[in-house]
Amino acid sequence: MSWGARAFLGVVALIVAAPVVVLAGISVNREKALYFPPRGFSLDWFGQLFTEPAWRDALMTSLTVAAGAAAVAVALALPLAYACWRWSLRGGGLLYLLGLAPFILPPVVSAVGFLSFWARLGVWGELWTAVLSHGVFLVTLPLVTVTLGLRSIDRHVVEAAETMGANEVTLARTIVLPLVVPYMISGAAFAFVLSLNEYIIAFMTIGFTHETLPVKIFNSLRYGYTPTMGAAAVVFIGLAVVVFGLIGRFGDLPKLMGAVTRRTD
């Protein structure tokens, strides 16, 4: 690769890293102020995230919503993807589109939709409404990964099992599910991480009753700066890198992201 190309990639990497560097710097200030470069060094703010009730509650709310949302998303996506793949349903394309739609539309539109919906049902502000809202919003991710996994199953294996007399349940349990579990896990992981970081839907559904971490950070930008905001951001970035790093380490990330040809290194 040429010199110019390397320099270009270097500059892009620098720009992409800059905000992360700033956040990391802010999170280690000694005083309760957002200096950058940091003045003094302290890791107390990371501790605060887990000890100060307001931040700990926000962290727990975020983790609860994200775990629930990932479960809801997979529970919706798996049977849908499976049915469309196994039985080539009429209208399957339309169903698939219904699963893609939440992620394609601007989240603020869905957020107002959820707000109107839950408000009308009289349950606005309940924690579980955010779980369901995020689950539906992020259903696209497991739907795409699971569909990709199903399509990569060799049809001959399925036919062999049928010839040997396996019924639908046996086929699903012994052949198909074990092969798509990795795709299911990546789909759930994607949904989990994105739910953790999602702001507008979380804000409009439960922002006034339960703060998620992004909502808490946003509110702190208005009322009371603290380096804990930086610490929370760093923890979330670290979590994302770990999750996607694991998928990259144990899964086939280029394939999940749509590359087909594999060049040998």
Binding site: M1, A5, F8, L9, V16, A18, P19, V22, L34, L76, P79, L80, W87, S88, L89, R90, L95, L98, I104, L105, P106, P107, V108, V109, S110, V112, S116, F117, A119, W124, L132, S133, G135, V136, E162, F190, V193, L196, N197, Y199, I200, M204, L213, P214, I217, M229, A233, I237, A240, F244, G245, G248, L253, P254, M257, G258, A259, T261, R262, D265
Partner: protein, 282 residues
């Protein structure tokens, strides 16, 4: 295979379809109903029917908001695609290992909360702690400047936020371009830059268009960034900031719903145009 009944398939798909219909389509229907309801300053809405909220779209104030939104988001989409395209192209020419590292970084930035991106950029562009201090140290500027809040700050942060989405939309196409194609051009004496401009870019025309639209839609729906980095003057807010402001601060959920529906229609229209345009182009 053909003798197999599809009944179990429909049975299996029934649950998720019902779930998605109930939790995704019904909310949109209710949003539509809410958008023609009356305003209730002490609650979300009051029952009734009015088209007043839609009528407000015709005011010059609202026209200004739309124009600004389109300008900000269009610019951000353009910048992000202009950075994402060459970057993704160069990375797809690297080893598989390098590509995995790239994808992990892209996904990590993609999942970054918009709030976190806005917060970080407000620091990066501030007078006291921002990059202008580095430029002063390097002797490129006389004194540090505050670049936030303002138009440029919103555009910069939005471009950053949509960069990973743009990269992911371009990645499949670019990674499939056979190295032999560009090697052929370079064997014939074309410089890498010329190969890029005259071979690679035209080959990816469709994904570039899709990418621009997607980045535009994404930035149009951003809330925290324009809120944190934009000016405090409502005239300069993007439509999404207004939607949120109306829903809560102004206690006018019906008007917020009407604006969300407008945004929905614009988005669907854009997607439809891209599909048709790209579908017809092949």
């Amino acid at each position: 295979m053909s003798a197999r009944s599809a009944a179990p398939g429909y049975a299996l798909a029934f649950g998720p379809t019902l779930g998605l219909g109930l939790l995704f389509l019904v909310p949109f229907g209710i949003m539509g109903v809410t958008s023609v309801a009356l305003r209730n300053p002490r609650g979300f809405y009051a029952p009734g029917f009015t088209l007043d909220h839609y009528e407000r779209f015709l005011s010059p104030f609202f026209g200004r908001i739309l124009l600004d939104s389109v300008l900000i988001c269009g610019l951000a989409a353009l910048i992000s695609v202009m950075i994402a395209f060459p970057t993704t192209w160069l990375v797809t020419r690297l080893s598989r290992r390098a590509q995995v590292v790239f994808l992990v970084a892209v996904l990590a930035v993609l999942s970054l909360s918009e709030v976190i991106v806005g917060f970080a950029w407000s620091k990066l562009l501030s007078r006291s702690e921002g990059v202008s201090n580095i430029l002063v140290m390097l002797g490129l500027m006389a004194e540090p400047a505050a670049w936030t809040p303002g138009f440029a700050a919103v555009v910069a942060a939005l471009s950053y936020a949509t960069l990973p989405y743009a990269a992911l939309v371009l990645y499949p196409t670019l990674s499939r371009i056979d190295p032999e194609v560009t090697e052929a051009a370079e064997t014939l004496g074309a410089s890498p830059v010329r190969t890029f401009a005259e071979i690679v870019v035209p080959m990816a025309r469709a994904p570039i268009a899709a990418c621009l639209i997607m980045a535009f839609v994404f930035t149009l729906g951003a809330y925290a960034i324009p809120n944190l980095l934009g000016s405090g003057n409502p005239v300069r807010w993007t439509i999404t900031v207004h939607i949120t402001d109306q829903a809560f601060q102004q206690s006018n959920l019906p008007f917020a719903a009407a604006m969300a529906i407008l945004l929905l229609i614009v988005t669907l229209g854009l997607i439809w145009v891209t599909q048709r345009w790209l579908g017809g182009g092949r």
